[in-house]
């Protein structure tokens, strides 16, 4: 059977070129980069080279990049690190209602431990407004964290505007750019952010490695204490092959973006337009301010997991903010925050395209989704044909 992977927002396969760059590091560059002997110096050089390239692509300086073990760790380090470091200055944090759980649950944990938080709402397109963020600012606000591109419905947030607000008031601003690094051109200085998270496995790099950009002068408590690695900001023996892999993947994504992005946008829009033809279907997220690879729709009267299982039977890998895939009872907090009812939100489908996606994949999806939706609706007590 054909297998079509349309869940690139969840994770992507490691590109052969990336794995090829990692294998020599696994075989030869195994030393502890803190050591004075030859193996240590070789390891140090490999990390330094990777850091220089990563910094350069993101428009950052060499010492502004901290390698981490994941995107989630980068988010946790940024938020907890800034919160603890500034706790004597203030305890208020601003975030949005549609953040990834790596941000949301981190802020909630801080709330349970003496901090205070405001969750700014979004409009029906899933957009955070800079004005709403501005309104939420208090005397004791120490951190604003608003994501760049939303992982579920793809809306891209006005982080540049929020960065200006934050800067004017001397408040740190972090953005979770896990969905946009690799996909959109990112220049941290132009964006004006103080911190920015990314994860290699979202752009054909390995899992188990991410990075946090931290502007020079921004001080954080470490999340992982111990050795002096990463200039005392993230302890642990450096994972050189993964760092090399992240860098190689970022280089490739950066050099190919001009060619890949319009191709993705064309397929994305064809998918959206095709799926919209199905009756009682709602497109979620902003039409233009949208990740190039993200399609998100809700089919009324049906539930997401049963839709995913049917798609899987046709070889199509997709995702849903459906409650039943996560074991919780509530559907996606993102779709609910956009004003969707529980009922409608339960029937969501996310398709995220990638480098290997083809027009034939789009045809295949547009051919197989409508009968599946029909079949499930015929089985649904909520649906009257």
């Amino acid at each position: 059977m054909e297998r079509i992977y349309l869940d690139h927002a969840a994770t992507t396969p490691v590109r052969p070129e990336v794995l090829e760059a990692m294998i020599p590091a696994y075989k030869n560059t195994f030393g502890n980069a803190s050591s004075v002997y030859s193996w240590g110096r070789e390891a140090r050089k490999a990390i330094d080279d990777a850091r220089a390239i990563t910094a350069d692509i993101l428009g950052a300086e060499f010492n502004e990049i901290i390698f981490t073990g994941s995107g989630s760790e980068a988010d946790n380090l940024a938020i907890k690190g800034a919160a603890w470091k500034q706790q004597h200055k203030g305890k208020h944090i601003i975030t949005s209602a549609i953040e990834h759980h790596a941000v949301l649950d981190t802020v909630k944990w801080l709330e349970a431990n003496g901090f205070d938080a405001t969750y700014v709402p979004v409009d029906e397109d899933g957009l955070v407004s800079a004005a709403a963020v501005e309104e939420a600012i208090r005397e004791d606000t120490i951190l604003i964290t608003i994501m760049h591109g939303n992982n579920e419905m793809g809306t891209i947030q006005p982080v540049e505007d929020i960065a200006v607000l934050a800067k004017d008031r001397g408040i740190l601003f972090h953005t979770d750019a896990v969905q946009t690094v690799g996909s959109l051109p990112i220049h941290v200085k132009d964006m004006g952010v103080d911190m920015l998270s990314l994860a290699a496995h979202k752009f054909y790099g390995p899992k188990g490695v991410g990075a946090l950009y931290v502007r020079k002068g921004v001080r954080l408590d470490p999340l992982i204490h111990g050795g002096a690695q990463e200039r005392n900001r993230r302890a642990g023996t450096e994972d050189i092959p993964s760092i090399v892999g992240l860098t190689k993947a970022l280089e490739l994504a950066d050099s190919e973006r001009r060619e890949v992005k319009p191709r993705l946008i064309a397929m994305r829009d064809r998918l959206i337009q095709g799926l919209e033809q199905i009756p009682d279907t709602k497109v979620n997220g902003h039409r233009d301010k949208r990740l190039p690879n993200n399609v998100n729709v809700c089919f009324r009267y049906i539930e997401g997991e049963s839709l995913l299982l049917n798609l899987d039977m046709m070889g199509i890998a997709a995702s849903s903010g459906s409650a039943c895939t996560s074991g919780s009872l509530d559907p996606s907090h993102v779709l609910l925050a956009m004003g969707l009812s529980h009922e409608v939100a339960h029937g969501s489908l996310r398709l995220t395209l990638g480098r290997s996606s083809t027009e034939a994949d789009v045809d295949y999806v547009l051919k197989h989704v409508p009968p599946i939706v029909k079949r499930l609706r015929d089985m649904s007590p909520l649906y009257q044909a």
């Binding site: 009267y301 049906i302 539930e303 997401g304 997991e305 049963s306 299982l309 039977m313 459906s322 409650a323 039943c324 895939t325 074991g327 009872l329 509530d330 559907p331 009812s341 529980h342 009922e343 339960h346 015929d378 089985m379 649904s380 007590p381 909520l382």
Partner: protein, 123 residues
């Protein structure tokens, strides 16, 4: 994650549909939580002769719905009364832990359909 039996009932659900002039109807679940099952039964001589369902819900919800219709058809009302959610899950060779609550859906809908039948009889 799901057993072959669950996937079989999910892919080829038995007894989907409605029964016109059913002797008992039960509905369980709610839209908020993402699963609703409606179950229709036909009773003759104290025995369930037919059962049909419609379900809005996840794979486990659909499979347990299908399985319970198979389990009740041919059973006496007393026997049907005894069908527990555990029994439905077992008949499907088990459900993942996070999905065990879905088996309540089917057992509870059946209970309501039986109650509805009794209420109609005594009305």
């Amino acid at each position: 994650m799901y057993t072959d039996k669950v996937m079989d009932h999910f892919q080829n659900p038995r007894n989907v549909g409605e029964i016109a002039n059913a002797d008992g109807v039960g509905e369980e679940g709610n839209v908020r939580c993402g699963d609703i099952m409606k179950l229709w039964i036909k009773v003759e001589d104290g025995r369930i002769m037919d059962a049909k369902f419609k379900t809005f819900g996840c794979g486990a919800a659909i499979a347990t719905s299908s399985m319970i219709t198979e389990m009740v058809i041919g059973k006496t009302l007393e026997e049907a009364q005894e069908i527990s959610n555990q029994a439905v899950a077992e008949a499907l060779d088990g459900l993942p832990p996070v999905k065990m609550h879905c088996s309540n859906l089917a057992a509870d809908a059946l209970q309501k359909a039986l109650d509805d039948y009794k209420a109609k009889q005594s009305a």
